[in-house]
Symmetry: C2
C-alpha cells in the first residue's frame, strides 16, 4: 500500500535511473505541478551494505528533487560529512562504497522500517515528505528486483560492478533477478491506465542498467505497451558517447552499435512512440524513423538548470505532438 | 575461537559491567601488565538497534581502557559527533538510544563481522587492537545472553528499561535469557583453571544487571565456585546509595536490604572469599564476616585516576592476603 491520495492522477510519468534521470526529473518538476508528475525510480541497483538496505537511485531522486543533492559529486548529499565511513575504514571495515553520515541516516531509517514490514513505496514517500518534497517518487514495485551483471570476471550485483569494480569488467549479460515475479505497484498501474495520462517519458538513464529493470516487471511492460498516452524516450547518447557512466561501454560489450539508434531499437516501437536525440546525431533520424519511432532532435546536454528545464519542456511538447 | 595466544595465562581476572566496572579495570590496567590481566565484560546488556548488534558494556571497556571514552558523559567516545543521530531523528526515526557517529562505526563493523559468522570474542579482540589496546577484553560467551527485566509495566530488554524508560519502572524480577544454555569461552575456562591464577575480582558494577548475567553462565558459576584463587568483590554501594545507576533502586524493589550486606550475601561465600566495602559501611563488617566472607574497608569512590589505581591495588593486595 502506498500513501498516495486516491485522487492522484498524474498526467505525466517519468522513468528514471540515478543521476541522468534525476536531472530530467528536476527539469520536469519545474514544468509540472506535484499533482501532475509521477516519478518512477529504478530499484535494480538496490543492495545491502553494512547491513543496510540501500536504494541509490531512489535516494538520488529524493535528494535531487528536494535540493539537497551534492552538485559536486553528482551523488550523495550536500554538506555531507564522512565521520562514520572514516572510522569504519580505520577499524578495517568495508569502505569501498562511500556512505556519508547524513546519507547513512536515510539508509538506517529505511532499513529499520522495511525490517518492520513497511513497504519501500511507503518509506520512499515518507522520505519525500521528510525532505519537504510533495512530488511523488515511487519504486516500480515493492518486491525485490536486482540487476545482476555477468562479466568476464564473474557474476556480480550492480554496485559491485559499478562502484567496487568501477565498471572495469567486460559485461557479457545482464539479468534482472526477481523482476519476472515482481508485482507492479497498483498506483503506477492506475496511472498508466488513466485515460487522462498525457505522456510516459523515459529519462536519459542507462537503458540496460537503469530502465530495463523497470521494464522487466511484466505488468509494467505490458501496460506500457498498451498505454494510450504517447511514450517518449530521451537518449543518453551523444554520438558514440553517453552523458556519463558505462552506457557506451556496455553497449559495445553487448555487441550493439554504440549510438542512439541502439537506444531506440532497444526500447522498440512496442514501448516508445518517439525518441529525443542530440543534434550531433541528426543523421540517425531516417534509420530510427524506419523502426516506427518518431524523432525529435535537440541539444540534450543538461548541465545547467535552464538546460534541464528546456529539455523537459521539449519532452512534454514532443509527447503532446505525438498524441495529436 | 578467540585470537588469544595459547600462552596467555593471566594472573588476574576481573568481571565488569559498564562504567563502574571500566573504572576499576582502568585502575587494574595501571597495576598489571597486559599479560597479567583478563577483563571479562557483561553481554546481558547487548541489544539490536537500527539493525546493529550493540555491546554497550564491552565497548565501554574498550573505550575506557584505550583512552577514548567520553569523560563528560561517562559513556560513548570522546570528540564524538552526532550527525547520523540528528538526521535519523529529523527523519522521524528512533532516537531514544544516543549513538554517536564514531560509536556507530564500531557497531557497523561488529555487526558486519558477526553477520559473516565471526564470534563476538574475536571481533572484540580485534576492536581492542584497532584501538591500540593490547589488554584482553572478552565476553564470557559467544552465545546470546540477554538480561530481561520484568517490571510493573511489562517485560522489557535491558536497554529499554535502562535507557528508554530511564529505570523508571519497578523491577519485579530479572532473567538472563539464553544464559543457561550458553557456553563459557574456553579461554576464560583455562584462565579460571590455571593454577597460577592469583585473583578473580568482581568490579563494583550492578550485581543484578551487570555481574549476574556472567555468573548465570553455568560453567562460569561452577568454575568460579571451584576456583582456587581468591575471589574478591568490590561493592558498588556506599551506605544505601550506589556509585551510580539503579543498583539501590532495584535492590529495594526486589525486597533486599539496600546495602553492601546484600551485595555480599547475593554473591555468597560460594562465589567470593572477600568483599571490599566503603569506610562508611564499616559497621557491616561483622554481619558480612558471619556469611563466611572476609572484608576490607576502604574509600571505594573512584572519581580520579589515582583513586581508581589505589582501589585496584588494594583489591589485588586484599586477594593476595586471602590466598596466604
Amino acid at each position: 500500500m502506498t500513501a498516495i491520495s486516491k485522487d492522484f492522477c498524474p498526467s505525466h510519468i517519468v522513468l528514471c535511473g540515478g543521476i541522468g534521470g534525476a536531472k530530467l526529473a528536476l527539469g520536469l518538476k519545474s514544468c509540472l505541478g506535484s499533482e501532475q508528475l509521477m516519478v518512477v525510480g529504478n530499484v535494480g541497483d538496490d543492495f545491502e551494505h553494512w547491513g543496510f538496505k540501500i536504494s541509490p537511485d531512489l535516494d538520488t531522486l529524493v535528494y535531487t528533487l528536494s535540493g539537497v543533492s551534492n552538485q559536486e559529486f553528482g551523488w550523495g548529499r550536500n554538506g555531507e560529512t564522512w565521520t562514520v565511513l572514516e572510522e569504519v575504514s580505520r577499524l578495517g571495515g568495508d569502505d569501498w562504497f562511500r556512505l556519508g553520515d547524513r546519507d547513512l541516516a536515510v539508509h538506517i531509517e529505511r532499513s529499520t522500517r522495511l525490517d518492520q514490514g513497511e513497504t519501500l513505496s511507503k518509506v520512499t514517500q515518507d522520505l519525500c515528505k521528510a525532505f519537504g518534497l510533495d512530488y511523488c517518487i515511487l519504486p516500480p514495485t515493492d518486491d525485490r528486483v536486482r540487476t545482476i551483471v555477468e562479466t568476464n570476471v564473474g557474476i556480480m550485483e550492480f554496485q559491485e560492478y559499478f562502484v567496487r569494480n568501477q565498471c572495469d569488467p567486460v559485461v557479457t549479460d545482464l539479468r534482472y533477478e526477481g523482476a519476472e515475479k515482481s508485482r507492479l505497484l497498483p498506483d503506477i498501474s492506475s496511472a498508466l491506465l488513466n485515460p487522462d495520462l498525457q505522456s510516459v517519458i523515459i529519462s536519459p538513464s542507462n537503458p540496460f542498467l537503469s530502465i530495463a529493470p523497470i521494464l522487466a516487471i511484466p505488468d509494467f511492460q505490458k501496460q506500457l505497451a498498451n498505454c494510450r498516452a504517447p511514450r517518449v524516450a530521451v537518449s543518453p547518447m551523444v554520438g558514440a558517447r553517453a552523458f556519463k557512466g558505462p552506457t557506451a561501454k556496455i553497449m559495445g560489450e553487448l555487441g550493439y552499435e554504440i549510438s542512439s539508434f541502439t537506444v531506440a531499437s532497444y526500447y522498440s516501437s512496442n514501448l516508445i512512440d518517439g525518441i529525443i536525440i542530440d543534434t550531433d546525431d541528426a543523421d540517425l533520424v531516417p534509420r530510427i524513423e524506419k523502426l516506427g519511432i518518431r524523432t525529435y532532435v535537440t541539444d540534450t546536454l543538461m548541465n545547467s538548470f535552464d538546460e534541464k528545464k528546456r529539455l523537459a519542456a521539449e519532452a512534454i511538447q514532443f509527447a503532446e505532438s505525438l498524441g495529436e
